[in-house]
C-alpha cells in the first residue's frame, strides 16, 4: 500500500486530502492471544477517535465507510490488521494525532498528505517524524499513463482498483441524472476497501467533470 505516498496532483490539488494509517506489526503484536487482544482493543480505541473526528473514509480489508459500510461492521472485525482512514480537515488530523500521542499506545501511526502540512502539525504538537516514504514520481513509458484528470482520482486508491473507465461511467450517470455525485463517490470508493480513498474530494471533481 505504499501508493498512498504517490497520490497525484499539484500542491493545490493535494490540499485537504490526508490519510492516517494505524498499523500494528504482525511480528510484535500478534505473538500470543493476550497481546493480540490488547492490540485489537487499542486499535479500536484509535479508530473510534478517527471516526469521531470526521474520517471521510475508514477501512480495512473487509470494507470501508466511504462506500457506505457501517463503521461498526468495519471495526467489528477482530483482527490485528489496524485500519486506514482519510480526512479533508487539517485541524481534525491534528486533534486526532494529539489524542494518539496522549494515549501513547505504542502502535505505529503514519500520516499521508502534503509534507509541509504534516510537518506543521508535528511541530505544533511536538511529534518527531521517524521515517518518510518520499515519492519521486512516475518513470518509464509515461505516454502509457491515463490523463492527469483521471490520475488525480484513481491514485487515491493505493492498489489502483479504480479505473478511468469507472470514473467515466459514473460521470455519465451523473450527467443523465441516474445517480447523484455523492452516490457516485461511494460507488467509486467500492473497490478500494483499504479506506484511503477520499470520497468528498472525488465528489467535487466528478461534479465538475459532469458539468454540475
Amino acid at each position: 500500500m505504499s501508493h498512498a505516498g504517490h497520490r497525484y496532483g499539484t500542491v493545490e490539488e493535494l490540499q485537504d486530502d490526508y490519510n492516517i494509517l494505524v498499523k500494528p506489526n504482525k511480528d510484535l503484536d500478534d505473538v500470543d492471544e493476550e497481546t493480540k487482544e490488547e492490540t485489537i482493543r487499542k486499535t479500536r480505541e484509535m479508530a473510534d477517535i478517527a471516526h469521531r473526528n470526521g474520517a471521510v473514509n475508514l477501512g480495512r480489508r473487509i470494507g470501508c465507510t466511504g462506500r457506505g459500510d457501517a463503521y461498526e461492521k468495519v471495526m467489528g472485525w477482530k483482527s490485528t490488521q489496524g485500519f486506514y482512514s482519510a480526512f479533508t480537515d487539517k485541524n481534525r488530523v491534528k486533534e486526532i494525532l494529539k489524542e494518539y500521542k496522549a494515549l501513547d499506545y505504542g502502535i505505529s501511526v503514519v500520516a499521508g498528505g502534503l509534507i509541509e502540512e504534516i510537518f506543521d502539525i508535528c511541530r505544533e504538537i511536538e511529534l518527531k517524524p521517524h521515517t518518510i516514504l518520499y515519492s519521486l514520481g512516475i518513470w518509464g513509458k509515461t505516454e502509457l499513463l491515463p490523463e492527469r484528470a483521471y490520475l488525480k482520482i484513481t491514485t487515491r486508491c493505493g492498489h489502483h482498483m479504480i479505473s478511468p473507465e469507472m470514473v467515466d461511467h459514473y460521470v455519465e450517470r451523473i450527467k443523465d441524472g441516474s445517480i447523484t455525485p455523492e452516490e457516485a463517490g461511494r460507488k467509486l470508493a467500492g473497490p478500494c476497501v483499504c479506506g484511503i480513498f477520499n470520497v468528498p474530494k472525488t465528489v467535487e471533481e466528478i461534479k465538475r467533470m459532469a458539468g454540475k
Binding site: G5, R61, Y100, G106, L127, T131, L133, Y134, L144
Partner: protein, 242 residues
C-alpha cells in the same frame, strides 16, 4: 476470469469495472481478453451480472500469480506471506519506528511497476531487479517479488513467469546512502528499457525529525521529490533510535 458465453446477455454492465480494459462487448456478448486480464477480481465484485455469467475460473501456475499480485482481496500463499497476507509489498516505512528495517544511513528503494494504471510483466520486473542488484541494492527478503526469484544473484524469475502480467508489483530493496546516487542512475537507465511505468519511492530515516539526509543527493542529481509523502510519526514503542 471468464464470461460464460451461454449465459451472458450482453448488457455490458461489467465493461466499465475492468481495471485494465480487458472486457469488451462483441456481437452482443461481453468478452474477456485473457492476455490483458490480470485477474484482479474487480468485475466479479463490482459488476452486478444479472445472469452470473462472470466467473472466476480455477487458476493454475503461472497464471495464478496474476491474481496474487493484482487482487487486493486475495490472500498470499503461505510461502510469500510476510505481512498481513494482503497487499503487494512489505510494511515499508509504516512500522519502521518499531522494526528498524531501515536504519540511519540506509535508504529503502521501492520500484512500483505498472502503477498507476498501466500494468507490468514479470519481464519488466526482472529488468529492474537485475539492474538494482548490479547497483548494489540489497533486495528485501520479505517481499513477494524477491521470494519468486529463481536466481537471486542475477535476479531472474522462472522463465514461464516472465510473460505474466500484473496490475502492479513492488520491487523492494535497500542501499547504503553512499550508493544511492549510483543506484538512482541505474534506475534512470533501466526506466528507458521497460515497457511500462513505475512509481519510484525512497524510504529514509529522518534527522531530528524534519531533515532528510537524501535531499542533497536528489537535488544534486536534478531530481525532485513530490510535495506529498507518507510519514511515520514515531509513535511506535519501543522506538528504534539507531
Amino acid at each position: 476470469m471468464i464470461i460464460d458465453q451461454e449465459t451472458c446477455i450482453g448488457c455490458g454492465d461489467c465493461v466499465f469495472t475492468c481495471t485494465v480494459k480487458a472486457i469488451s462487448l462483441n456481437d452482443e456478448k461481453a468478452d474477456i481478453d485473457r492476455d490483458r486480464c490480470v485477474e484482479c477480481g474487480n468485475c466479479l465484485r463490482i459488476a452486478e451480472c444479472p445472469t452470473d455469467a462472470l466467473q472466476q475460473d480455477e487458476l493454475e501456475y503461472p497464471r495464478v500469480w496474476r491474481k496474487y499480485f493484482s487482487d487486493n482481496q486475495q490472500k498470499w500463499p503461505d510461502h510469500v506471506r510476510f505481512s498481513t497476507g494482503f497487499g503487494r509489498g512489505t510494511e515499508e516505512c509504516k512500522t519502521n519506528d518499531r522494526t528498524g528495517r531501515f536504519k540511519q544511513g540506509q535508504v529503502g528503494v521501492l520500484v512500483e511497476l505498472g502503477r498507476p494504471g498501466v500494468t507490468a510483466s514479470f519481464a519488466d520486473a526482472e529488468k529492474i531487479v537485475g539492474s538494482l542488484i548490479q547497483a548494489g541494492v540489497e533486495m528485501e527478503e520479505k517481499s513477494p517479488i524477491t521470494a519468486l526469484l529463481q536466481d537471486k544473484e542475477k535476479g531472474l524469475f522462472p522463465a514461464e513467469l516472465r510473460a505474466e502480467r500484473v496490475l502492479s508489483c513492488i520491487v523492494e530493496g535497500k542501499v547504503k546512502i553512499e550508493r544511492l546516487e549510483s543506484a538512482l542512475k541505474v534506475i534512470q537507465e533501466v526506466s528507458q528499457k521497460i515497457d511500462t511505468v513505475f512509481s519510484l519511492g525512497l524510504v529514509t530515516r529522518m534527522q531530528d525529525g524534519f531533515t532528510s539526509p537524501i535531499a542533497p543527493i536528489i537535488e544534486k542529481m536534478g531530481l525532485e521529490t513530490r510535495p506529498n509523502a507518507k510519514i511515520n510519526l514515531g509513535l511506535g514503542k519501543p522506538l528504534v533510535e539507531d
